[in-house]
């Protein structure tokens, strides 16, 4: 009967594991939507230039790690004027800080299927601890992370000087992330 056990093991090793621990971010379909206010009117934009690697196994969330790199220059509000404003030194300063980065240090499960990652978000050269709640759904060879949070833009010196009062452009910015992952195995 030993050959039956060997045959079963051989077959099992051939099928792909549904929940691979190592993933690459798919830049083609991943995006972050940001929602802010301008003179009391809400507006949104999207950022598409997202790359990075994520190690995550829902069975052992504490072993997970995220390294997400965002090219802020890909941000698009639909308005050329607003886009130009984002590039300015007092705002995102694209010339000096084109990339933002999120490096997670710790992932926990807060409820069945709900997770939270604690890590360092670096925007415009400034790093701040940020907690990001997210959900994780895996299929064969791919997965989807969705999460949302609200940040205070002035924590990262975004909108300096007169802009820091928040009267014209609001201080609170909502982020909604949809990150698609491709299994590395």
């Amino acid at each position: 009967m030993k050959w039956v056990a060997l045959a079963v093991m051989a077959v099992l090793s051939l099928s792909p594991r549904l929940e691979a621990a190592s993933w690459s971010i798919d830049p083609a379909t991943s995006r972050v939507i940001f929602i802010a206010t301008f003179e009391g009117a809400e507006f949104d934009g999207r950022i598409d230039g997202i790359t990075g690697t994520i190690e995550f196994d829902p069975a052992t969330p504490q072993t997970g790690r995220m390294d997400v790199i965002v090219d802020i220059r890909s941000a698009d509000t639909g308005s050329a004027d607003l886009n130009d404003g984002m590039a300015l030194t007092e705002w995102f300063d694209y010339a000096r800080h084109p990339m933002a980065r999120y490096l997670s240090e710790d992932i926990t499960e807060t409820a069945p299927g709900q997770y939270e990652t604690h890590g360092l978000l670096t925007i415009k050269g400034i790093s701040r601890p940020v907690t990001l709640p997210f959900t994780f759904g895996a299929q064969t060879g791919s997965a989807l992370i969705q999460g949302a949070t609200t940040l205070r833009r002035t924590d990262f010196n975004i909108g300096e000087g007169d802009w820091a009062s928040g009267e014209a452009i609001g201080l609170e910015v909502r982020l909604e992330a949809k990150i698609t992952l491709i299994g590395n195995d």
Binding site: F38, G40, A41, E42, T77, L82, G85, S165, A168
Partner: protein, 190 residues
């Protein structure tokens, strides 16, 4: 003095529309020039916010004002006025109405083509009259500023003519637009 126009005088409602919109238009000119020239800052955005909010208010008021004008008799110009003056007056007034409509509309196009988030007085979301389009934005801005130059010339002409009638010709053209002044004009013998 009546609310409605009579056959020889403007009523109170017409007078209110006239002076209210005159004040609003002067405020708009100041706001517009300041907003355009102010360095990029929260103040600049605020100036545009008030300029655009008042601009859309003027557009709404013009519609009501024109409806009121058509629903009322229009006091005729004095019979003694020469034909060229009559024509000049009609053309100037028609152009003023046209500018009062075209300027806010072109401004609306600028806002929509630039896709600048905007709610009139922070309350009513202005619908997008056009899709975002940089070239259209620039064209609308050119039209808007050109109309401003036309408006400025019309206002100078309109004000000078009114003062000429009142101070030189001594007829009641200006006084009949003033609440409470009707009947006090001295008529110069022709």
């Amino acid at each position: 003095m009546p609310l409605r126009n009579t056959t020889d005088s403007w009523g109170h409602i017409a007078q209110l529309f006239h002076w209210l919109m005159a004040v609003l238009i002067l405020a708009m000119i100041v706001l517009g020039l300041m907003a355009k020239n102010w360095p990029l800052s929260p103040t600049k955005l605020s100036l545009f916010f008030w300029h655009k909010s008042l601009g859309m208010t003027i557009l709404g008021l013009v519609v009501v004002r024109l409806s009121w004008r058509w629903a009322n008799p229009t006091p005729p110009l004095p019979a003694t006025l020469p034909r060229w003056e009559r024509t000049a007056a009609h053309i100037t007034h028609a152009l003023l109405y046209a500018v009062m409509i075209a300027m806010p509309l072109s401004g609306w196009v600028i806002n929509a083509a630039a896709k600048i988030p905007f709610k009139v007085f922070g309350v009513w979301t202005l619908p997008a009259i056009v899709a975002p389009d940089k070239a259209l934005q620039e064209l609308a801005a050119l039209v808007h500023f050109s109309l401003f130059l036309l408006l400025a010339m019309l206002l100078i002409l309109h004000t000078a003519a009114a003062l000429r009638h009142h101070l030189l010709l001594h007829d009641d053209i200006l006084s009949r637009m003033l609440p409470g002044c009707h009947g006090h004009a001295r008529r110069k013998p022709q």
